[in-house]
Amino acid sequence: MVSSSLSSKRYTYIHESGSETRRGAIDIHHVIINRSRSTGYARLMGLAFFLVILGVSMYSFIEKDNPVRTLSWSCLLSGFFVVIQSRKLVKKESVIIMPTFGIQIETQYLSGKTVSRFIPIDKILKPMLVECVTPVTCYWSLSLFLRGEEQLTLVFKELRPSLKMLVPIWKALCTVISTDQSEIITEEKHVVSG
């Protein structure tokens, strides 16, 4: 059941929760790229065409004798580039929160492939919203601080949804983690006193 959704120019955020609002219901958050299957391929084709033209014009300045050979090499290389890049086209990324059990992070590609990773609940120390700075831009990302790992784990590896979409997911994660951690503390108190 879709309980809320947010839409921006590039991404759509959909929140599905269980039909009853009881503790232990599975929470699913999706972030979907707003583009049809064809737009992604069209962009790559356009880029490949540009590369072919560039290759031909570059070679025609350097090697004037055999334009057919350079054209065929350019087409081959650009075709290769299209195939490689199309595997990376993402359709949707999801976070499935299973309270007291763990979370599953899934990435679904346009080619139909799905990559998923399961993280048990006791491995997560804290979810956090981090500002990532690159040499050309700065964006918000949701990361997990995991026990025993030095690097933060990104929840959304390929997509960059806006802060408005990340905040409800972060809050849901915090609630689940804090419930789990307070249960652990209560259990430990029982063990100590009992």
Binding site: K9, R10, V130, E131, C132, V133, T134, P135, V136, T137, C138, Y139, W140, S162, L163
Partner: protein, 429 residues
């Protein structure tokens, strides 16, 4: 919390964890502006592992942008490479004024150029004096001329510095404000119990032992003073290439028990060294603003100094020409007026004269003046560059036109609405 009145972006290659005068200045000024209710964000390059967004005291947000520094902590100058990240930061933080620091910082020049292209108000502060004659200075002065041709307001830290900046860049003197640096009087306090000046008078010198700081003068002055006054001893803190000359001087005149060499003194320990003395000696040949003499005066020491930028009241300093005989005469005068000095009273006067809160208020006035400047369109701005020189003017115009076109291209590829604004995070004090 109320909406901040001004949103300032401080840009410089020089910021903490690097340590120095410019870094200190940016930090203290930012803290005082935050206290006045403005929002301040600092942009600098990444230092080793320290990259990304960090928050400092009072909610000061620092962007350590991962551009590799290439020489003397300066970012590699790519002219247009920093345009995307500068645009992103300006839009995210909803900046109104961009304040660049230090003429030697490439990141500062690039950021100011991009900010001007995008129509933001721009202020520049120059912290150092530079020459005119050598190749490096000539090129840097040309770059400075380019940046300052289109600036809204400029700030210099002393009258000496203002003269130097105006001559180097051809900027109209009316646009340059003079706001002196301040000193952290809370940190530099006199000793609770002043060392007695009856038996031994201690003269403290703390500076880098390089030519520009007058280390050669020290080599002449110290033996002469030791000969004239048997009860004077020297404490020399700092390190540098001229260290060897001072050691030789000690050996030659057998002054090992009267001249103590401390080596490099970390800034946190400077105060503890200063309070052991009665007189502070500064022999710099040239300095835009000598904070060292302010720190010494704040600790209650009488200062003997060459005529450098940075003013102390007449009764707190004895000035001298950068000539050994004149400096010895000045030290003699200082020793004679030493009994009338009251360290606590000096410290209190320094607190009133040089405070960072005062600097922040004066800087606020400069920002307000900058905001009132009218926004010129591209063609009017290009005409300012043409006056920079026969060839240089045309080159500068080309650079600005390409910057403008690149900015428009970026707006097509990533529209302004796509850049998400960062929320202001309030830290409760």
């Amino acid at each position: 919390m109320a909406e901040p009145k001004l949103r300032v972006l401080m840009v410089s290659d020089f910021f903490f964890p690097n340590f120095g005068g410019v870094e200190n200045h940016i930090y203290y000024l930012s803290q005082c502006l935050l206290n006045l209710g403005h929002k301040v964000v600092v942009m600098t390059h990444a230092y080793g592992n320290r990259s990304g967004v960090r928050y400092m005291t009072g909610g000061l947000k620092v962007y350590y942008v991962p551009w590799r520094p290439f020489t003397m902590q300066n970012t590699f100058p790519t002219v247009y490479g920093t345009l995307p990240i500068v645009r992103t930061i300006l839009k995210r933080e909803r900046i109104t004024v961009v304040h660049g620091h230090q003429a030697f910082s490439t990141l500062c020049h690039e950021a100011l150029m991009h900010a001007r292209t995008m129509g933001y108000r721009v202020v520049f502060t120059d912290h150092s004096l530079y020459g005119f004659a050598d190749v490096g200075s000539i090129h840097m002065n040309k770059v400075l001329q380019f940046t300052l041709a289109d600036i809204d307001q400029a700030i210099c830290v002393s009258h000496t510095s203002k003269e130097n900046t105006v001559l180097r860049s051809g900027l109209a003197p009316g646009k340059v404000f003079m706001i002196p640096n301040a000193v952290d009087t809370a940190m530099f306090k006199p000793a609770d119990v002043r060392p007695s000046s009856d038996d031994v008078i201690t003269i403290v010198v703390i500076s880098r032992l390089v030519y520009r700081k007058g280390a050669d003068l020290l080599v002449e002055v110290i033996p002469e003073v030791c000969r004239l006054y048997p009860n004077v001893r020297f404490v020399v803190g700092g390190d540098g290439p001229k260290h060897v000359r001072l050691e030789e001087m000690r050996e030659k005149h057998s002054l090992q028990d009267r001249v103590e060499m401390l080596g490099a003194v970390p800034h946190s320990r400077v105060r503890s060294v200063l309070v052991t003395g009665h007189i502070f000696l500064n022999s710099s040949l040239t300095e835009a603003f000598c904070i060292a003499i302010l720190e010494a005066a704040s600790c209650g020491l009488l200062t003997v100094s060459t005529r450098v930028g940075g003013v102390l009241p007449d009764d707190m300093v004895v000035l001298a020409e950068p000539d050994p005989d004149d400096m010895v005469r000045a030290i003699e005068k200082a020793i004679s007026i030493l009994p009338s000095i009251n360290p606590e009273e000096m410290h209190n006067r320094m607190k009133k004269l040089y405070s960072w809160q005062d600097v922040a208020k004066r800087t606020e006035i400069v920002y307000d003046r900058a905001l009132k400047c009218s926004n010129r369109n591209l063609l009017e701005r290009l005409s300012r560059f043409l006056s920079c020189g026969a060839w240089a003017g045309k080159v500068f115009c080309m650079v600005m036109i390409i910057d403008y076109l690149l900015w428009r291209l970026l707006q097509l590829l990533q529209p302004d609405d796509d850049i998400e604004e960062a929320p202001d995070i309030n830290f409760c004090n």
